[in-house]
């Protein structure tokens, strides 16, 4: 097992290197930030001075090497726009996105998996068909539209919840959180629901498909023959048998939501990293883009590794085949 982990970590390093090159070249191709940052009427010598100060006069490969050298010292550069270290900028925005994402993904799993199991357990019941119908809506209705409708309904018409922003935050363990106050939660609720709908639909479908398949197996028949109650069978047999695909999707969704909650964060003016990356693309803030995309790659590599380790816990056969 430890050999397997080492191998995976080496793979991760290669992936990170490849990703940094792709990101660097890609961001370079998008456009020259100096066209946006330097006023058009600035004199030519001032312009050259600024470009040289940011190191943008160097050829691309030299810029990349300088970047690598800095990263090796833990320095991802400074934001052109905010003029503070990029890492600090991203880290300051991360908790907002983190709590939004966790609320959405965990909520989706906590509600979606039981609903999906029910729908798979009783595929012909009216309640199951209703659940499946709603899940199709969750898949097909675009997130931005749902977001706007949520704001319209709960903020504008009913006036129950705030329309956007993060509201007051409490500092716990040196990080700002909204989940520890009622006011903060009220701000979190709508964007979390908005973000969760798609994932909820996906969890329902996954859990249903898995349950339907498992219910037909001899494992379930044998458990019934031993006199186990249906509740015990679902809790102990079915849930563990359908866990592997659900954990996979849970992890990947967690990652992609962390990285790309852009639409929801924009609609609800949620000050997270999604909004940061959109803003930095608009202003061609290269260091932010590069650092952000590389951190996202790191995030996915880490999550994938964790998912693989979770497999070994959930399915002992996996652990054995890897130890061999």
């Amino acid at each position: 097992m430890s050999g397997y982990i080492i191998q995976r970590c080496l793979q991760a390093v290669v992936v990170m290197f490849a990703m940094s090159v792709i990101v660097f070249v890609g961001v370079y191709a998008i456009g020259n930030p100096m066209d946006v940052l330097i006023p058009l009427d600035a004199p030519q010598d001032v312009r050259a001075l600024i470009i040289a100060r940011f190191g943008l006069d160097l050829p691309l490969w030299k810029q990349y090497l300088v970047f690598l050298g800095n990263v090796a010292q833990g320095d991802f550069g400074r934001s052109f726009v905010y003029a503070i270290p990029v890492l600090d900028l991203i880290v300051s925005r991360l908790p907002a996105t983190l709590e939004l994402t966790l609320a959405a993904v965990i909520g989706a799993a906590a509600i979606g998996v039981p609903l999906g199991i029910w729908a798979g357990y009783r595929p012909d019941a009216l309640s199951s068909k209703t659940i499946m119908g709603v899940s199709i809506l969750g898949f097909s209705v675009p997130t931005f539209w749902v977001g706007l409708i949520l704001i319209l309904t709960f903020a504008v018409w009913l006036g129950w919840l705030p329309a956007g922003g993060r509201g007051p935050v409490d500092v716990v363990l040196g990080v700002e959180w909204s989940i520890f106050s009622l006011e903060g939660l009220s701000h979190l609720l709508l964007p979390a629901v908005n973000l969760a709908l798609f994932k909820l639909a996906m969890m329902i479908r996954l859990a249903r498909a898995g349950t339907r398949e498992v219910m037909l197996t001899d494992t379930i028949k044998f458990a019934r023959a031993a006199g186990l109650s249906e509740g015990t069978i679902v809790r102990h047999h079915v849930l563990k048998l359908i866990a592997v695909p659900i954990v996979t999707v849970f992890g990947l969704e967690l990652g992609s939501t962390l990285a790309f909650a852009v639409v929801t964060e924009t609609i609800f003016s949620w000050p997270g990293v999604g909004k940061l990356i959109i803003d930095s693309i608009t202003s061609l803030d290269r260091p932010v883009m590069v650092a952000y995309l590389i951190l996202v790659a790191l995030l996915f590599v880490t999550i994938n590794l964790l998912i693989d380790l979770a497999y070994a816990v959930l399915d002992p056969r996996v652990a054995r085949s890897r130890a061999a």
Partner: protein, 323 residues
């Protein structure tokens, strides 16, 4: 307590498929005494497994028991509320399936699965359940049982896995175990062991066995009585020795002739001509008639159950009794 354990009368289990009604079990009647080992043989699709599942009320939709009666210790099981039936399963009637690889849950430890089976019927602490589980595993011949409780099914060999399944079935010392081809998926050497051990266990605990198999040779070595099933019906039933030595139904004869053990070396095996009929389109009268060398016009009428001294059969043109 009377000697009579199980009384099945005119059991009918039909499957309502889109193509039509499949009469998988169509009027099966038999009785079993306590501790008796009954062999149920037939080709694939003859309805022997469905008969077994019907006994536990475990017929999956679109199938259901449409008629007849199953009495266990005088208690009617057909039409019994699901919850009562559940409390019966595993405690008074249990089942062992063909392939333990498919029946044991691959992601739960053996101990966890046995504990679930124990707790399905008894309120016991986790520690007590583990002790029980270990003692049952020891009984079915698993060495170092207490340590093996934390192992997963894939860490056992095929024979050991089937022993675990048997242990789960035996946990509550049921009066009846339905064993559906329990040795078919195993190596031949292991088959013999399991066969022997199950017979011993049933003898020790007074558990009756319904041994379902397509393999006459296996059944004959374990069962006291034998029932031959064809197209959802019993065609011959009697003491194993009598039926094997001196079959009256042409189908039983055909099955016996197709056994390698009865053929001389180098001789081609005789097989029952034709194929199992589709249960959707059974011929009128005797379903075996189209494949039967003794068939006549009379066979379009349903043959009555006939009995001679020791056994029952269902044929217009039975083979003569050997002298």
């Amino acid at each position: 307590m009377s000697a009579l354990l199980l009384e099945v009368r005119d059991l009918r289990t039909h499957f309502f498929t889109r193509a039509g009604v499949v009469k998988a079990v169509d009027g099966v009647s038999f009785t079993m005494e306590r501790g008796q080992v009954l062999g149920l043989v037939g080709e694939s699709g003859s309805g022997k497994s469905v008969t077994g599942f019907s006994l536990l009320g475990l017929v999956d939709p679109p199938g259901r028991i449409v008629g007849g009666s199953i009495r266990l210790d005088g208690e009617e099981l057909v039409g019994m509320p699901l919850d009562e039936l559940r409390r019966l399963r595993g405690r008074r009637i249990a089942m062992v399936f063909q392939d333990p690889m498919m029946t044991l849950n691959p992601v739960l430890t053996v101990g966890a699965q046995m504990t679930l089976a124990i707790r399905a019927h008894e309120k016991v602490t986790g520690v007590a359940a583990r002790e029980r589980a270990a003692s049952v595993l020891t009984r079915v011949g698993i060495p170092d049982a207490a340590a093996r409780l934390d192992a997963y099914p894939h860490e056992f060999s095929g024979g050991m896995r089937q022993r675990v399944a048997i242990a789960i079935a035996m946990t509550h010392s049921p009066g009846l175990i339905v064993a559906d081809e329990p040795t078919t998926a195993l190596d031949v050497s292991i088959q013999a062991q399991i066969l022997h051990e199950m017979r011993e266990l049933s003898r020790e605990s007074g558990t009756a066995l319904v041994w379902i198999s397509h393999d006459l040779a296996t059944v004959s070595s374990v069962a006291e009585r034998i029932m031959v099933m064809y197209a959802g019906r019993l065609v011959e039933e009697g003491p194993t020795a009598t039926v094997l030595r001196d079959p009256r139904h042409p189908y039983t004869r055909g099955l016996l002739d197709s056994l390698p053990a009865t053929a001389r070396p180098g001789q081609e095996l005789r097989q029952v001509p034709g194929n199992t009929p589709s249960l959707l389109a059974l011929p009128p009268g005797c379903p075996f008639a189209p494949r039967c060398v003794r068939a006549s016009e009379r066979c379009v009428e349903d043959p009555e159950h006939r009995v001679d001294a020791v056994r029952a059969f269902r044929c217009h043109h039975p083979l003569e009794r050997a002298a």
